[in-house]
Amino acid sequence: MNYPVWYLPGIGGGTLIALIAVVHVFISHFAVGGGLYLVLAERKGLREKNPGILDFTRRHTKFFLLVTMVAGGLTGVGIWFIISLVQPAATSLLIHTFVFGWAAEWVFFTVEIVALLVYYYTFGRMEERTHQAVGWVYFIAAWLSLFLINGIINFMLTPGDWLADRNFWSGFFNPSFWPGLFFRSCIAFLLAGVYAFLTTSLLKDLELKKTMTRFTGRWVFISCAAGLPFGLWYRAVLPNEARLLVDGASPTIARALEVGQWALAALILLSALLVLLKPRYHSFSLSLGVLVCSFLLMGSFEWTREAARRPFVINGVLYSNSIAPGEVEGLSARGMLASARWAGQKDVHEESLLEAGEDLFRLQCYACHTVGGFNNDIAIRTASMSYPVMLQYLETIHERRYFMPPFAGNAAEKRALAAFLVAGLHGKPIEAPAVAGGPGQAIFEGNCAFCHDEELVRERIAGWPREKVRRALDALSSLDPAMPDFEGSPAEKDLLADYLASPPAAGAVPAHHDPGEDVFESHCAMCHSLEGSANPLLPKIRGWQRDRLRGALDRLEQLSPAMPPLSATTEEKEALADFLTHSLQGGQR
């Protein structure tokens, strides 16, 4: 809207954010927990007067310095760079709202750097108590950095009272602040142990190696045990929509959580093997395995947290595509292209339909979808949709899929976007808007087609005289209470009645004549293909009889929390069940 979009269709800005962010959080949490590890390991060495432990701590400090200060510090700057490049509007809002929070975080970052440099370079040269104090200063400053960033990150998920009062403190101490803080602290201590498995594995003195591996193992087990209740608390404070997504309504979260569960199980098993059962197996490569598990666990958590606020980048404030919910109505009236500062096309013309469509894709979809890329590829998701279905889908996209923002723009722009997605990406035909069926068909498409398949309507009214059709148009709600009355003028009703009562014009109706296939296209094809690369449906229902299929269509939401209920009429469901049964039999009737 306000800012240009850095357009790398094959890669996607979201992918870049995720890559940098996951690496950064994996190091920065270590930078917090690892600080406490250093202080306590040193204290252990001092108390036990064990030079071996002290020497290990010094070496571990060097490793810690190189990992956290260089890679950790600079990927932190990297996150800041990439979010302002990919999500400038949201970044600007966060910077302007929390500038003094960020500034205070910078102070702690400074103290961290100085403390760590002093701690490392004076190891063994400084008076013991003072050196311990320097270590504590480092850890406390690092944890306070986490404290501040945690407030801002969780604000994006649960802005809470800030939505009403726009107060810094309401936004900062938002509903998920405390569970987030405790949960992240546990992750930080877990990672302190996981990284230390690497350096303890290199110890030559076997007795020392055993002592330090035990010491390190405690960090892993206690953090896992403590993290669990905080994780549940975190889930409990989520707003309803977010909790539904986390509980399974979002297919990508479900996948992420599955990875996370396996990673956690493997992490605990491997750690138990190293620490309790067979300390002599404790090698660098096994420790690396634990590290990879913790990386997957962390990635799964961050992915879930990010995905739980969809379709928003800041919950309730800004959609992922930088459009505010309050702007949608105005954009639909004025047009998105005319309102967006950085749109190349300012208007939709038939000769530049695809260019305008690509501009709209860039402004509204590209924030989450790549074109042919690894992440959330729009080409796969739209592969089985036809132009009319796409138009219809764009109309109600946010109702069908909670995690999608609504389309913002006027009718011509919707056509342009649909044309880009169908013809631009897949080279499929787009029916011209002023169609063979004349104005009557245009009225049908503008008013009825979102809910009704034309062919099914024609089947339903087969044999009706024109006058009966015309009369029905005056009182649609009496035909079915779920149907709103048609608000068109009498002349429009006449045209529509003419159109519906006359035989379908050649070419106006798609070439295939299985009404069930139309239902499939308009209700299932945005997430499923029959047997393609996009979540193929047939393998899932192989061997099902028609009755079982038909029954399932009435309770899709119970089959999988990721599925919305099928909002189709009984006739449409019957047609869909027929179509799927035939498709299972290899398409033979």
Binding site: N2, Y3, P4, V5, W6, Y7, L8, L16, I20, L66, M69, V70, A71, G73, L74, V77, G78, W80, F81, I82, S84, L85, P88, T91, S92, L93, I95, H96, V99, F100, G101, A103, A104, W106, V107, F108, F109, T110, V111, I113, V114, A115, L117, V118, Y121, T122, R125, M126, T130, V134, V137, A141, R166, N167, F168, W169, R341, W342, G344, R362
Partner: protein, 356 residues
């Protein structure tokens, strides 16, 4: 006013606070950056020049280089934060236009930073590769400076932003800007000069342990400082006349304060050169430090001058809330006290800790 300029977000306190914090923290970043760049250049030169004392000096500088990188990055965070608050709607746009290069700063820095640590930790075993490594680090720094100059000039010229409609992939550079090259050379030369002065002062400290390397550092550093500051006079004139006429005239009586600062800057340059020629490093530092501050203020005038047809800071809306700022100032006071305490402990502990 260009229709491409985004609408800015509101501020929690009047813009003067952010301008103050920006101009307070930016010279600190510049100072550290100058020391970092100068140390790298002199370390490379001393190494290439050969000789045992040159080699030892190169190593002494290598030992402080990682810490200088860390602090330069750290002190860069604050001004980058504050500039986003008052000029975010310009700097975000220009950053996006050259996004590939802008994001490239991060891997370049990681390369240079790890390179600096490798050079420090592996110094004795590096041989000829050490020269190559240092040259790579220096090149990375100079490349980063070029990207910065591009971004911070592109943010000033909304007329040039239409390049986006030919290239949305984030690889636009601001090569059409007349002042780009002189500005880059002016900044880099100034940084190397002040960095040279840092090396000269650092040489006095090294001299306590290693008089030969110490005096080499003093000599090389002061030579670099004096020669480059002389060159800077020419580059400064080139930069000045490459500015748009209205901006240049600000310093020629167009704006009284800007003109006064400009004259003060000139006087400080002359004082610095005189001190350099007399080989008085400490005196030169007393001229160079205020000069650095004056230069940042002049730079702020250049920025405001460029943007004058489009924007002035008075246009920013304020929705006041002061308590977070008070919280920040308290944290800042505690932080400064903590850093002071840490440094005192480090100096007391002696040894390598004294390097800071």
């Amino acid at each position: 006013m260009s229709p491409l300029i985004p609408t800015p977000d509101t501020l929690p306190v009047p813009w003067g606070w952010f301008q103050f914090l920006l101009l307070l923290t930016f010279p600190l970043h510049l100072l550290l950056m100058n020391c970092m760049l100068g140390s790298t250049a002199v370390a490379l030169y001393a190494r290439v020049r050969g000789g045992e004392s040159g080699r030892r000096l190169s190593y002494e500088l290598a030992k402080v280089l990682p810490a200088l990188v860390a602090l330069t990055v750290n002190l860069g965070v604050a001004p980058l934060l504050f500039i986003q608050v008052i000029y975010g709607h310009f700097i975000y746009v220009s950053s996006i236009l050259l996004a590939v290069f802008w994001l490239g700063v991060v891997p370049l820095l990681i390369l240079a930073y790890y390179g600096a640590y490798v050079y420090d930790f592996r110094f004795p075993s590096l041989g000829r590769q050490g020269t190559l490594l240092l040259a790579t680090i220096l090149l990375a720094f100079l490349a980063i400076a070029f990207i910065y100059t591009n971004n911070f000039t592109l943010m000033l010229v909304p007329e040039a932003w239409t390049a986006y409609f030919r290239n949305a992939g984030g690889t636009v550079l601001n090569l059409g800007e007349k002042s780009l090259l002189p500005r880059y050379l002016h900044m880099v030369t100034g940084a190397l000069a002040v960095g040279g002065l840092f090396v000269a002062l650092f040489g006095r400290f090294v001299g306590r342990r290693d008089p030969e390397a110490g005096s080499l550092a003093e000599r090389l550093g002061l030579n670099l400082f004096t020669a480059l500051t002389l060159l800077q006079v020419l580059l400064g004139v080139w930069f000045l006349i490459a500015l748009p006429r209205e901006v240049m005239l600000l310093f020629m009586g167009g704006d009284l304060l800007a003109t006064g600062l400009f004259l003060l800057g000139l006087a400080l340059v002359l004082a610095a050169i005189a001190a350099g020629l007399k080989r008085r490093a400490v005196l030169a530092a007393w001229a160079a430090l205020p000069l650095l501050v004056v230069m940042t203020l002049l730079r702020a005038y250049v920025r405001a001058g460029y943007l004058a047809p489009h924007f002035s800071l008075d246009q920013l809306q304020v929705v006041p809330q002061y308590s977070p700022m008070i919280f920040f100032f308290v944290v800042l006071a505690v932080g400064v006290a903590m850093v002071a305490w840490l440094l005192r402990q480090a100096v007391k502990a002696g040894g390598k800790g004294q390097a800071f």
